[in-house]
Subunit: 345 residues, 4 copies
């Protein structure tokens, strides 16, 4: 069998060619270490232009580091961060909030549906906690945009959560590991999707959408950035040759590459909200696809038979057509697998 | 004036061509994320061969992360890590030991000379702490090899420290940010410089000697590795596209590149122990060199006028000759600046 | 109106006379500080006899400290502690597990009913977490005996949870803030209620049942005790004049005082499981009782009108009769308020 | 031989009779738990009057807890606390600063003499750290008053340290485990010894000077108190029956008991600065005293033969006379042992 496109995750491809080229170009010559290089310093203006406001940008190696640093900062000196009960920051980072804060933060899951937290439930839970002096005091809310369920919060939904937060003096963090896919889906500007909707601090994802090993924390509320340089350094995310991260981010946002990549990936995962699909797949089809060399990630409870099909910036129409044809072959029918979220809709 | 070689740090160059080439080659095709790729899995055997024993290797983004993870592991469930009083792990990582351990570790500086801790002083301090139930209990010693003073512990010196440690049931960590330079200087095998001398766990540096953004933790004592995968993940050093780190490490140790690079850098910093020189430079010479476009890093107390001149894997003889000629020009004399450590010797 | 017995909490009375007398007697003469006194040393044998096995006992000032220390110990080097979703250790101690462990622990609530966690749900949640490498690894389960809902786990229920734990290599902690009330209700021996049922480590409550300011951590699994003396000291619970805590505990268990006190308090809260009652009280009765000088604590969601009536070791039959008569007076009826849990049963 | 007064520590006696009486009186009747009782609430005014300014007072169980809480607060969100190199907070509390801050604080010893830190050395070290971005950032200084060497900082010496701190925006903590002895020796008012000299936050000791199990944190800078109620609760120092601590503190400061006790203890340790003496004692005298039933604590390095003789609030002239006579007997000479500090003077 021929090599099959891997639909397991948006982390399986390498880098977009533009980003790899930028990294190779950055290799020549000497530069100041630890982020004092022109590329890193230039990111401030670059991201300021992108978001139409003054920001502070700090490149880090991974999204987990970005989220952990943000959790530590918004919970300081200690307190609770409310997250969606399906959020990556809650159950996919080995207790990152607790770790990065030195036990000063607790991550609290808020029920919702379709991967999104309910603003009403958030208000209820925070109010209950505020009424009890022995509870961990609420300090922040963290919104995952796009969600783990391949959905996107509308701007109105973001604003509803922000309103709950503001009224209770909570900071607002956005986990934007797939921000590009969300912005592409929303058709909003980056500013509208973030600070104009009330976001204070952003985990800006790039790796899942074409970078090699670079994400960033973006501070719209620049007061929150005060402790960042120390926190990042001791966490081992102030890279000595920081330029190699910065040029990835630079190339990522240059010429709208990030949105072009995201639009493409979203398109490949047609009929769904962002760049992946959750489908309930009969076992014979699954077995057949795996036998042909395909890879996917399981989701949901064991026995539910739900798999996640992820399209990345480099997934082609041919890849998708071939996948669908192969699935049909094993299904022995003409109907394609039905996306779970569509059925629910 | 022409562009001058930058002598500020071994972090100012880009990557060695072999390593950049490996990274570019790794960009093609899809691979499993989060370290389940062939390059990462192959590192185990590669490093096993390099060190002539079974090891567990975990790539991380920076030396600070490697050191912090090691400090958390060797101090668990809590306790003190004894380090040289000039050690990078103590005063250059913003309290990494305390952070990575969640306040369960304390880093304690041990006096010594020439950048090395004194084994006798270590024994005295540990014994005093063990005698006092209210002290942080000693758990580990961390040796920096090569040191911040451009010196190298002899294997006998390492063994003397290990003997103190073993007799008191302390783990032994080696901060090998410049391990290659030290091994090249010692003329020992990597095994002799580490586990054969009693080292349990190693911060294996690569970035300062030709990698882009990759270092690693190497466990000789594999029981200590049990908690590593969780700790690394929550600390944001389990990269989703881990292959981009692993291939750097792979290329770094292939064909002895790491030792060739280190030998070269050591050679460029002739007359000194590893790859840099600390010199007391008269102000007019300093001013002249800076005016010509040179960069250095200051060391010692303000007013001492000590600068650090670092040679990297890509420093050429011409770079060094030009530097010396320029310095002589501003000195108005024929004698080159005298290395501080040589004078002391 | 006359002074009314306060039904707000079992923390409102002072100490039982026997315990106060022991404390006053302990005041005479000099003794070694920091727990090297005869009273503290004698506790080991005393608790060994009480529990019919060798134990290690560490007095601490509060139940929150006992629980926090236990959480840090059973989660080390890091990991999750599963608790009932109504557990005091989860939502009444300001994030104690996270704090005492330095961010190495996460407290995870397990649904159940009647204040008890469901063993089946525990198994399901732990298995799900064990299957996911990015989750906080499960390390321990914490059982609250008696519960926040005034119920008591049967020994079979405890054993069912222990079985789930043992099969998954989790430690078992018992939060026994009201252990005496539970043991009195169960009619078991202290040994049967704890280590014979599989408990490794116990928060032994005394303050709610007649002590002034003393609780203790009891280790049945004595290996777990290794780090305790350091942890307790740095947490500020190694009292310099430790005898004043130890004699409270000594008097508390002498001559079965702890069980006599608990049986009495349980009896006063007749018809319920341990020593308090949760009742849905119409507003006019509540208002009337408060006007008469009574105090209670609210429970449940706002608007549910549920109050908690707590009987302590010093509550008399007359106190209860007077309360009931007063409530009837304001109810204008003859029927006493119906305990919530009875109705549910 | 008859029972000998124990000179081991000021923690060997029980409580002063006035304080025990207050505790016994507090036992009667019901009160609100967790510090909502009249005694605890009354402390605010009581300590406000004592210090001639509005303060916030939080009783805690031990001095270690007071110091740990203060370290966490003054270092937040993270940073270094500079202390005397002989300070109890540094080497006698098992890493309390690191623990209470969740790894966000580092305790850094400052050299000095006679138990006191040098203001000049403090300035030098803080300035060096501020100049290096990779260092733990300086946040606070902690002064131990009186010192571990039985000396007292003059108010001018305190002000000199405060000046260094203020110029560098550091908070000032005073560890007042023996504040009463120091104030008695200085002849100053409590206000002059603390906030008027620039102290922001105080560990107010009582246990060593006549209380049973109560110390307190006093905030002169009341903004720093914001996080205290959460921090104290999760650390297990919000006692449910808090009144039993509060009445100790109340009785301690009523009618100048604390200063009367301290003056007495200081007087018993005549010729020295506060209430204890460090003496170099020939082995035969030591052996003889121990044979007679005396207890002391060793100080200094092994072999130096230095012992600490502590006088407490209840040490009598007869106790001291008998000690001196016994020592002379074993010395076979008429001269009393010479206090170490006097000799140095």
């Amino acid at each position: 069998m021929s090599a099959k496109k891997n639909f397991y995750s948006d982390n399986v491809p390498g880098a977009a060619p533009e980003i790899l080229a930028a990294l190779v170009a950055a290799n020549a010559g000497d530069t100041a270490p630890y982020g004092a290089d022109p590329a890193t310093e230039g990111l401030q203006a670059r991201f300021g232009a992108l978001f139409e406001t003054e920001v502070e940008v700090f490149p880090v190696g991974t999204g987990t580091a970005a989220n952990g640093l943000c959790a530590a900062i918004v919970s300081a000196p200690y307190g609770a961060v409310y997250v969606s009960d399906s959020a990556h920051v809650h159950d996919n980072e080995c207790g990152g909030a607790e770790f990065w804060s030195g036990g000063n933060a607790r991550s609290i899951p808020v029920p919702g549906s379709d991967g999104k937290m309910s603003a009403a439930e958030l208000a209820r839970m925070v109010d209950a906690a505020l009424a009890r002096p022995a509870e961990v005091p609420p300090r922040a809310v963290s919104i995952t945009q796009g969600t783990e369920a391949s959905t996107v919060y509308t701007l109105a939904e973001v604003r509803a959560i922000v309103e709950v937060a503001r009224a209770r003096r909570l900071w607002v963090h956005l986990d934007g590991a797939r921000l590009a896919n969300a912005v592409a889906r929303l058709g909003s500007t980056p500013a509208e999707a973030t600070w104009k909707a009330g976001v204070d601090i952003l985990s800006f994802g790039a790796t899942k959408n074409g970078a090699l090993t670079a994400d960033a924390v973006v501070f719209f509320n620049r007061e929150l950035a005060q402790s960042m340089r120390y926190r990042r350094r001791r966490g081992g995310h102030l890279f000595s040759k920081m330029r190699f991260l910065s040029v990835q981010l630079e190339a990522y946002v240059a010429n709208d590459l990030w949105l072009r990549n995201a639009r493409h990936a979203n398109l490949m995962a047609r009929r769904v909200r962002i760049n992946f699909v959750l489908v309930a797949l009969p076992q014979p089809i699954w077995d057949g696809l795996v036998a042909e060399g395909y890879s996917f990630s399981r989701r949901g409870a064991p026995g539910e038979g739900i798999i996640r099909i992820v399209c990345a910036f480099d997934t082609t129409e041919e890849d998708v057509d071939e996948l669908v044809a192969t699935a049909k072959h094993y299904a022995g029918v003409n109907a394609p697998p039905l996306p779970v979220r569509e059925r629910a809709g």
